[in-house]
C-alpha cells in the first residue's frame, strides 16, 4: 500500500475501503461494494442514525456507520457474528413492535425490513408481539397510510421536508407511543399537501405509505429483493433514486 492510499482509505473487516473526505462509513462501504445492513438510510437523504441496524465497531467503539464519518486508517468491524446477532434482535424488535403480516402485504418482496430479515436469517420474531392498535388513513385520493407497518425511520419525514419542501410528516409521541403524524388541520392525509409524485410517497422502505390502485402489478417472485438477497444488491442500495411515479395513476379518480 502506498502512503496516499493509506491516507484515503480505511478497513472494514480487514478489507481496504477507499473514501473521499466527507463520506460516511456507510457511503464509502456501499460505494466500494461492501454491504452494511441498514434501514433508515437512503442515498438521497440526510443521514439519520435511528434504526441502528448499521451499528459497527469502529476502533473498538460502537457507532452508526450511516452517521459516522470515514477517517483514514480506522478499523471497522461489520460482518461479525456478534454484530449480526444484535442486528437480528433489532429486526425482531421492529417486527414485534408493529403489525407486520408479510403474506398479505403488497410491499412483500420490495420491503427492506422483510429483505433484511431473510438475509440475516431471522427465523422467528422471538419476542412477545405488542399487537398495537394503529390507525390506517385512506383519506387521500392517491395514497394510503398504514401505521401498522411503520418502523419510525423518518425517511418520509426527511423526504417531505428536504426534497418536497412540504413537511407533510413528523414524528410525534414518545417512546413506544412514537408515531408518524400528518401535517393538516384535521391530521388526515386527505387534507394535507401531499401529492402522489412527492418523494415522501415513494421513499418508505416498508409498506406504511402505499400508492392506491396499485395491486400486485409486479408479481411476487419478480420483485426487487426476490431476485437476490439484499446483501448482494449493494449497487442498488448505493445508487437508488427515489422513484418519482408519473401521475398517470390519478386518472382513474
Amino acid at each position: 500500500m502506498s502512503e496516499t492510499s493509506n491516507a484515503n482509505s480505511f478497513s472494514i473487516d480487514g478489507q481496504r475501503i477507499p473514501f473521499t473526505p466527507g463520506q460516511t462509513i456507510l457511503q464509502a462501504a456501499l460505494a466500494a461494494g461492501v454491504y452494511i445492513p441498514h434501514l433508515c438510510h437512503h442515498p438521497e437523504l440526510k443521514p439519520h442514525g435511528s434504526c441502528k441496524l448499521c451499528t459497527v465497531i469502529v476502533n473498538g467503539r460502537n457507532g452508526s456507520a450511516c452517521t459516522q464519518m470515514a477517517m483514514p486508517g480506522i478499523e471497522v468491524e461489520n460482518n461479525s457474528p456478534t454484530l449480526n446477532d444484535r442486528r437480528r434482535v433489532l429486526l425482531q424488535m421492529l417486527f414485534v413492535e408493529g403489525n407486520h403480516f408479510c403474506p398479505g402485504c403488497e410491499k412483500s418482496g420490495n420491503c427492506q425490513l422483510q429483505a433484511l430479515a431473510y438475509d440475516l436469517e431471522m427465523l422467528a420474531p422471538h419476542f412477545r408481539h405488542a399487537y398495537p392498535v394503529r390507525p390506517i388513513d385512506t383519506t387521500h385520493p392517491d395514497v394510503w397510510l398504514d401505521l401498522n407497518r411503520c418502523i419510525m425511520c423518518e425517511l418520509c419525514v426527511r423526504a417531505s421536508r428536504d426534497i418536497d419542501g412540504k413537511n407533510v410528516f413528523a414524528l410525534a409521541g414518545r417512546g413506544v407511543d412514537s408515531h408518524i403524524v400528518v401535517n393538516s388541520p384535521s391530521g388526515r392525509l386527505g387534507d394535507s399537501a401531499l401529492s402522489i409524485d412527492d418523494a415522501a410517497v415513494h421513499v418508505c422502505p416498508v409498506g406504511a405509505i402505499m400508492v392506491k390502485r396499485v395491486g400486485y402489478a409486479v408479481p411476487i417472485g419478480e420483485r426487487q429483493f426476490d431476485e437476490q438477497p439484499i446483501s448482494r444488491q449493494v449497487d442498488y442500495l448505493a445508487t437508488r433514486h427515489i422513484p418519482i411515479v408519473p401521475v398517470a395513476a390519478t386518472e382513474e379518480r
Partner: protein, 601 residues
C-alpha cells in the same frame, strides 16, 4: 390554508402568551406550558390555532405537545394530580396514598372525573426524595404526603379552592443540608466571584479552570475547561451558556437545593463562563417539576441586573453583555441529555441529536454552546475566587474538589451531603445513619447498584462516578422491585428515536412484570441479559445505553430476589390465552367456568 377556530375565550387567553413570546416558534415548549396553565389542556383545535398563529406546521405542534409528559391533549381536569413514583416514594408508601385518593375522589388512574374537575396519575421522580412521598398538583410540588394530607387535598379540590389559597405548609420544600463542605458551607458574597474572574482576565480564568481539573457534575465527568476552550475557539457567534437544571435522574435533588438557596453561585458561574468563552446569552433549563422555583429565580435575576451583574458592560468591562433567561421543561427525563435539552430549548421534542457535531461548535440554533450542570457552575465560582491550584488540591488526583450527594431511602437523615471526592460508600452510610443497608444505588436509575461487599469503594470518577443520586436500601427491601421500578422508568422516558431503546426498554419492563407475576423462568433471566447486550452498545444516547444497568446489576448481585419468583418450569408463555378470550366471552355473554381455561387446560 383552512383555518381552525377555538372559542373566543380560549383565543383571548392565548393571545397575550403568544405576544409575550413574540410569536416565536422556537419558544413553542414555553408557549405550550403557559397555554396549558391558562386553559388546562392543549386540544387539537388549540394546537392547530397555535400552529397557524406561529406559522409552523400543525404536525410540529403535535410532535412537541405529544412528547412531553406534562402536556395534555385531552382534558385532565382543572386539578391535575401526579404522584411521584420513584422507588423512594414507593418505599415511603406512595401507592397506598394514591389508592386512598383514588377512592376518595372515585377516579380511574389517568382519567378525568365525570365533572371534569380532577385527575390523578403517577409521574417520574419529582426530586423530593428527602421529603417524600411527593406529588405535583398542576406542576406545583407538595411534599411529605400522608393520608391526612391526602384527605385535606381531596377536600380542597372538591371545594374548588384555587391552588394559591392552599396551605403554604403543603408547598414547603426543605433544604436538608446534613453535611456542608466548601460549597454548601461557604457564605456567598454577591459579585465577588464575577469580579475575581474579571480580574484574572479571560485567558487567566481559563488557565485557572484548566489547573483546577474541574469535571462536569452531571455524571459524565467531562473536563469543563476543555468544553469551554472548544466553545471559545469556535468561530461562530453568538455563543450561548446553558445551565442544565433538568435534574431528572431518580433520587437526585441537589440542584433543587442549589437553585433554592445558592442561586447566586449558579448564575455567577454562568456569567463567568460567558465572560471566559465570549457568550452573550444564557439559558437556565429548569425541569418542569421545579416550577415553584421559577418566581424566586426570576426575582434573583432581576436583582443581579440591578446590581450590574447581568446586562450591559458587566463588571465595568466594556462590551461584556450577558443575560440569562429561564426555560422550563415539561416532564421529560431525556432533556437532561445536553443535545435533547437544546432541542427542547428550540421548542422541539427532546430527541438527542447525532454527535458530532458537539454543542460546543454547533449547539443552540447551531451556534457554539456550553452546557454545564448546576453544581459544576457553582464550582466555577470557587475556582474564580480561590484559583485552580487551590481547587486541584482537594479530592483525588482525577476527581478534584467536592461532590454533593443527594442521600435518600433507608437512613435516619436523608438530605444533602457534601464530601471531598474519594469518600467511601461506608462513610456516607455511617454519616446518614443507615445501619442496615444491603445495597446502594449510586447515580440514579442509570447508575450502579452496589452491594454490601462494595461499600468500601469510593465516590470518584475513577471508581464510582455519580451525578449525585445515592439511594439506600435496607435489609427489608427487595432489590428486584427496585430494578423493576427503574425498568418502568426507562420505558416511560425513552424518547423513541432509536430502535433498541424504544422497543428494548418496553420488552425489559414486560419481562420484569412477568417475573413479578410469578410467571418468569430461567428463560426470562437470560432474556434480560440478552436485551442488555443490545441496548448497551446499540442505543443512540446514554439513556438507552444505561437503561438495563440496574436490571443487569441486580440479576448479578441479588439473584435470589429474582429466583424466588421464578416458576418451576423451563418456560411459561408470555401470551395469556384465557385473558385473550375475554373479548369472545364478552361477545358470547358468558363468564361461567366452562368459558374459562382452567389450570388443567
Amino acid at each position: 390554508m383552512p383555518t381552525v377556530s377555538v372559542s373566543a375565550e380560549i383565543s383571548s387567553l392565548i393571545e397575550p402568551i403568544l405576544q409575550r413570546h413574540a410569536w416565536r416558534p422556537d419558544r413553542l415548549v414555553q408557549i405550550l406550558r403557559e397555554v396549558q396553565e391558562a386553559v388546562d389542556f392543549i386540544s387539537d383545535e388549540t394546537a392547530a390555532h397555535l400552529a397557524e398563529a406561529l406559522k409552523i406546521p400543525y404536525a410540529q405542534v403535535h410532535s412537541t405537545r405529544d412528547f412531553y409528559a406534562f402536556f395534555y391533549r385531552e382534558n385532565r381536569g382543572r386539578y391535575r394530580v401526579l404522584f411521584s413514583d420513584n422507588i423512594t416514594d414507593r418505599m415511603a408508601g406512595n401507592q397506598g396514598l394514591f389508592e386512598h385518593m383514588q377512592k376518595r375522589l372515585k377516579l380511574e388512574r389517568g382519567k378525568v372525573s365525570d365533572d371534569g374537575l380532577v385527575s390523578i396519575d403517577y409521574c417520574s421522580c419529582t426530586g423530593m426524595c428527602d421529603q417524600g412521598p411527593a406529588i405535583l398538583v398542576n406542576n406545583r410540588a407538595i411534599t411529605r404526603m400522608t393520608l391526612r394530607r391526602v384527605d385535606e387535598i381531596c377536600d380542597l379540590i372538591r371545594g374548588q379552592v384555587p391552588l394559591d389559597k392552599w396551605p403554604a405548609e403543603f408547598f414547603r420544600v426543605d433544604d436538608n443540608i446534613r453535611r456542608a463542605d466548601m460549597l454548601l458551607g461557604t457564605p456567598h458574597e454577591p459579585g465577588k466571584a464575577v469580579r475575581a474572574a474579571i480580574a484574572r482576565g479571560r485567558d487567566g480564568m481559563l488557565a485557572e479552570m484548566k489547573l483546577s481539573n474541574l469535571r462536569g457534575r452531571g455524571g459524565a465527568g467531562f473536563t469543563t475547561a476543555v468544553k469551554w476552550e472548544a466553545c471559545r475557539n469556535a468561530p461562530a457567534t453568538p455563543r450561548y451558556i446553558v445551565c442544565n437544571a433538568d435534574e431528572g435522574e431518580p433520587g437526585t435533588f441537589k440542584d433543587r437545593v442549589l437553585l433554592q438557596s445558592y442561586a447566586g453561585r449558579v448564575f455567577e458561574g454562568m456569567v463567568i463562563a460567558a465572560y471566559t468563552v465570549g457568550a452573550s446569552h444564557g439559558f437556565l433549563y429548569l425541569r418542569g417539576e421545579y416550577l415553584y422555583l421559577l418566581q424566586p429565580l426570576e426575582a434573583y435575576l432581576a436583582g443581579m441586573r440591578a446590581a450590574g451583574l447581568l446586562g450591559r458592560d458587566i463588571g465595568g468591562v466594556a462590551g461584556f453583555d450577558f443575560d440569562i433567561e429561564i426555560h422550563l421543561g415539561a416532564g421529560a427525563y431525556i432533556c437532561g441529555e445536553e443535545t435533547a435539552l437544546i432541542e427542547s430549548l428550540e421548542g422541539k421534542a427532546g430527541r438527542p441529536r447525532v454527535r458530532p457535531p458537539f454543542p460546543v461548535t454547533s449547539g443552540y440554533m447551531g451556534k457554539p454552546t456550553v452546557v454545564n450542570n448546576v453544581e459544576t457552575l457553582c464550582k466555577v465560582t470557587e475556582i474564580a475566587i480561590n484559583g485552580g491550584a487551590w481547587y486541584e488540591a482537594i479530592g483525588t488526583k482525577q476527581s478534584t474538589g467536592t461532590k454533593i450527594l443527594s442521600v435518600a431511602g433507608d437512613c435516619a437523615r436523608p438530605g444533602l451531603y457534601e464530601y471531598a471526592f474519594g469518600v467511601r460508600i461506608a462513610q456516607v452510610l455511617e454519616d446518614c445513619g443507615a445501619q442496615e443497608a444491603i445495597a446502594v444505588q449510586v447515580s440514579g436509575a442509570s447508575g450502579v447498584c452496589l452491594s454490601e461487599r462494595e461499600f468500601g469503594r469510593r465516590i470518584a470518577f475513577e471508581d464510582v462516578p455519580t451525578a449525585g443520586s445515592f439511594m439506600i436500601f435496607g435489609k427489608q427491601r427487595d432489590l428486584f422491585e427496585v430494578a423493576r421500578n427503574f425498568a418502568h422508568f426507562f420505558a416511560h422516558e425513552s424518547c423513541g428515536f432509536c430502535t433498541p431503546c424504544r422497543v428494548g426498554t418496553v420488552l425489559m419492563k414486560e419481562i420484569m412484570d412477568k417475573i413479578a407475576e410469578g410467571r418468569g423462568t430461567q428463560y426470562e433471566m437470560n432474556e434480560l441479559l440478552r436485551l442488555q447486550q443490545v441496548l448497551k452498545p446499540g442505543s443512540h444516547c446514554g439513556l438507552g445505553q444505561t437503561a438495563g444497568n440496574a436490571v443487569a446489576d441486580t440479576v448479578q448481585k441479588f439473584r435470589p430476589a429474582y429466583e424466588r419468583r421464578l416458576a418451576e418450569t423451563d418456560f411459561v408463555p408470555a401470551f395469556d390465552l384465557d385473558a385473550a378470550l375475554s373479548r369472545a366471552r364478552e361477545l358470547a355473554g358468558r363468564d361461567d367456568a366452562a368459558a374459562h381455561l382452567g389450570e388443567e387446560a
